[in-house]
Structures are given as C-alpha cells and as structure tokens.
Amino acid sequence: MFTGASQFALVGVVGAGGSVWAGAAAAALLGSRNALYGIRLSSLLNVHGWRRFAASQFVIDETTAMAIARDEPPLSRYAFWATGVALFLFWNAGTLIGALATHALSNPKVLGLDAAPPAAFLALLAPRLRAREPLAIAFAAAVLAIAVLPFVPAGVPLLVVALLVTLFGVLRK
C-alpha cells in the first residue's frame, strides 16, 4: 500500500482495537480519490503496457500535484516519475525504520506518540479545507464520528461517516 492516509487509517483502526476489515474498508475509501487523480493524469502521462502498472502505484496526492503544476507534458511526466520514485523509496524506508524502532520503545505515550496520528491526519486534511463547504463537512463528520463511537465497534464510525458523506454528495443538487 503506497498512499499515506490509507496506511495511517488502517493502522489507526487496528491500533484502536477495531477489526482489520473495518480498517481495510476505511483505507480503500480513502484511496478512492486516487482514481480521480488517475483520470487527471492519464492524458498527461500517456502510459501503456507495463509502464501503466508501474505508474499506477505512484498515483498519489503529491505526484498528482507536482505533475499538474507543470505547463509542458514532458516536464509533467518528469515531475510525476521523479516525485513518485523519491517518495516511494523514502516513505517505505521510513515505514521500515518505524516498524523496527517500535521494539525499542517501551511506552510510546511518554513521547506523546499517541498524539501524533491525529496531528498527522489534521495536516493531511488542512489543505483540503480552503473553502466553507469542506470545512462544514469536516466538522459535521468529526461530530458524527464521536457521536456514534460509543455504540459501534472501533473503525465503524469511519464507515458510517463515509456512507453518509457519499449519500450527501450524490443526492445534493
């Protein structure tokens, strides 16, 4: 899995005691935006055959932003592949270091590491909140998730929120 928000969500749900399947569903839902990025990128990248399978793994927030910010298609392609390869290597190296380092930590709470994931999600969310409607949706989703949390298994509040926001998006005029 190479799409950060999904990775964090899966780990977050399982870490909170939720089912891995609820976590997997949340991860896949968060990954749905990459399909839209793929549409934006497909004409720019113009990839076929095995290159399309390689390029697919690199379709994420950062590579899309870097690619569509260039004016010339060759520069876009260069930005996409360079960002993708660099992020893929460093991101996964970071994940590996984190996985190995946990064995050295006896109590992550002393370092405040339980406060890190919400801050990370907030930092991922912030660039998407530059208008009033997304901000209202974010607040409503947060309140709803907290409201249902005591009554359903861990991870399920995310799925309730995903269902309702999808209904809202589809039914809204």
């Binding site: 969500a9 990954g31 590491l113 406060a115 989703a141 005591p150 995903a162 998006g169």
Partner: protein, 101 residues
C-alpha cells in the same frame, strides 16, 4: 488474519489507481462522482482526527491529546510543514504528561 486485511486493503488501493489510469475517461467523469469522491477523504480524515483524539477504545475521553490537537491546529493555521505539525503535537502531549503529578 491481520495480514489478509492489509493485503486486501493494499490491492484495493492499487486497483483504484489503476482504474483511474485505465478506465474510459467518461465512466468516471459523471458529475456526481466528480463532486462526491473528493468529499470522502475530507470526511474520513476529520473523523480520524476526532476519534483518535477524543477516544480510547469505545470510550470518549478528554486528555492531553486534546491540548496536543489544539497546538497542531495552530501549527496548521501557521502553515507549518507536516513533520513540524506532528512533532509539536507529540511534544505537547509528552510535556503535559511529564508535568502531570
């Protein structure tokens, strides 16, 4: 079991990317899809912020993580880089815990 879930999630995430690059453009250009899909990460990320700050398991709790979130919000408003936002939040929680009797 946990690795089966990780594998399914990974394959799903990859398949969504491949679909975006491969499916006929008009399939995914329905206006309802175009305006709904960007809302999903907003709602889910906001839910994750809220649930991971104000709960432990299925219990609602108010602890140092709430203060850490406030500091993180300030950092985000000041346009601090990702790692700085995460680091100041963790440092706030660690400091408040160290100060607690």
């Amino acid at each position: 079991m946990i690795w089966a879930g990780v594998l399914v999630a990974s394959v799903s995430c990859y398949a969504l990317k491949l679909a975006g690059l491969s499916l006929p453009q008009r399939w995914l250009q329905d206006p309802r899809i175009q305006r709904t899909v960007p809302l999903i990460p907003i709602a889910l990320l906001a839910s994750l912020v809220a649930t991971q700050t104000f709960s432990t398991g299925r219990h609602l709790v108010l602890d140092v993580r709430a203060a850490a979130l406030l500091v993180a919000i300030v950092a985000v408003v000041l346009r601090a880089p990702f790692l700085v936002v995460v680091a100041v939040a963790a440092a706030t929680a660690a400091l408040l815990r160290a100060l607690q009797p």
